[in-house]
């Protein structure tokens, strides 16, 4: 353990070691260290998009897998996401300037009547961690909120969350309205929340049910890739 007690000087590490160290620091939720790491990589001439994908998204993927596998739990993930956010705050304006490629945009919110936002926030943070742009509508959203935001933001994905058996049927109201308006197939619809399951997701016409935030990220990536393939083929 003695070597752990020595301070690690980030600027003395080479690129590869530094990225590895940033993975560890993300895992441990060390925000200041992540900010420092991002700044060092910028000084060394790394493109903001490369820092995002290789250092931050790479690190958050490890966090996501360990969360999925029941090794990390919500408190640790929140701290990791907070560290990630610190790095993102530095990168965000630079990414916009450099016209970096976008993963996709997600409108997310908890459905009408449901004030639970822990799960939704977690999904938002993990999706941001994976490079998605997130428009968070907060809690208690009627169908109009979702539809307005999807159109306004030109989003790719709609994410809906419900934690109560009394509120989960409202997801179907939203999807049915999208079908009525002929816009259902314009978006990828992902649903999640403790009382839901795959069968429910299918029954209400969602594209997928996501068991947790890590699965939501993987599913979103998968659907976006398929969408791109279709566009390329079409």
């Amino acid at each position: 353990m003695s070597e752990d007690e020595d301070d690690i000087i980030l600027s003395e590490l080479d690129d590869e070691e530094l990225v590895q160290q940033m993975f560890d620091d993300l895992y441990d939720g060390l925000r200041e260290e992540i900010e420092e790491g991002v700044n060092i990589l910028l000084e060394r001439g790394w493109a903001p998009y490369r820092i995002l994908t290789e250092a931050l998204v790479g690190g958050m993927t490890i966090v996501g897998h360990d969360f999925r596998d029941g090794i990390l739990f919500v408190p640790e993930v929140l701290l990791a996401a907070n560290a990630m956010k610190g790095g993102m705050a530095i990168l965000k304006p630079l990414l916009a300037e450099t016209g970096a490629p976008k993963q996709g945009k997600m409108v997310i919110g908890t459905v009408k009547g449901d004030i639970h936002d822990i799960g939704k926030n977690l999904v938002s943070m993990m999706m941001e961690g994976a490079g998605f742009e997130i428009v968070d509508l907060g809690i208690n959203n009627p169908v109009e909120n979702y539809l307005e935001a999807l159109e306004r933001e030109e989003a790719d994905i709609l994410g809906m969350s419900a934690l109560l058996t009394t509120t989960m049927p409202y997801m179907k109201v939203v999807i049915d309205t999208m079908v009525e308006q002929g816009i259902r197939d314009d978006y990828i619809v992902l649903v999640g929340g403790a009382p839901l399951n795959e069968e429910f997701g299918r029954a209400i016409g969602a594209d997928a049910y996501c068991r947790d935030a890590a699965v939501a990220v993987e599913t979103a990536k998968d659907f976006i890739a398929r969408k791109h393939n279709q566009m390329a083929a079409g």
Partner: protein, 338 residues
Amino acid sequence: MSDALQKALATRDWLLADGATGTNLFNMGLMSGDAPEFWNETAPDKIRALYRGAVEAGSDLFLTNSFGANASRLKLHEAQHRAFELSRLSAEIGREIADAADRPVIVAGSVGPTGEIMGAAGTLDHATAVEMFEETASGLMEGGADLLWVETISAPEEFRAAAEAFERIGAPWCGTMSFDTAGRTMMGVTSADMVKLVDGLPNPPLAFGANCGVGASDLLRTVLGFVAQGTERPIIAKGNAGIPKYEDGHIHYDGTPELMAEYAVLARDSGARIIGGCCGTMPDHLRAMRAALESQPPGPRPTLDRIAEALGGFSSESDGTGESAPAKPRRGGRRRRA
């Protein structure tokens, strides 16, 4: 305040608690999005019917319709100032139904989570949480609850805040957490962790345990986890009646009364003293549970295999306790620099 629960525990081997609140109210026409607590005021007959449903099915104890009656959750309905009053009403109706029964029935004032995150990464601080819980708890005791019952908690910080609020008003209490994530609570608390948490409180609860979560099998695995710690404190088991299914615009739980009857007997044989249901558990389930508890003699403590065989498999391989638990790898890790 009363010592109704202590007395009941002293004279009975097991007590039947109640079933679902939300599922029952939903069946009575609660609309998606409405706060059930408003019905304490606007539709008290429905709340009477809810409580009576449990009492007539044989429950020795039922929880009040106040799960979301705290300032943080009522804020959604712009009713954050009404936590005390709506809690009081829920207990008052409860008292009326319990006192009209022909046998002793205990009114437990339900205290649900705030829905906020506490701890290092959270938005709700300890003092505010204690205040919120105290307001709800005071209303419940004022309305005539025999004791307080905090339930569906995930975070140890929130459990402690509730306990402190109950200590402030000197009320007896019970508390359950929801173990829904690979055998742990959402915040990572294992069954063994909860025993330590409960034992370490200055005002420990009369009974503690698990409610909601995934299915009946997982819940009993958690009960066995409590027992393995050698605790002497009475254990509560309140599992869901199976898994929610969506049919014709309504949510229906797939656990039959027969399954819940078997669950109740296995819960008792596992070591639980207070046994009830959670989401999806209707009066028919409770009746079957009561009949089974009365007719079937106590058996040996079931193994995990026996539970899985009777009630279905577990949601995860490990419940986070013992040697099979997935370990947090020691990644590079380092000391935080000053």
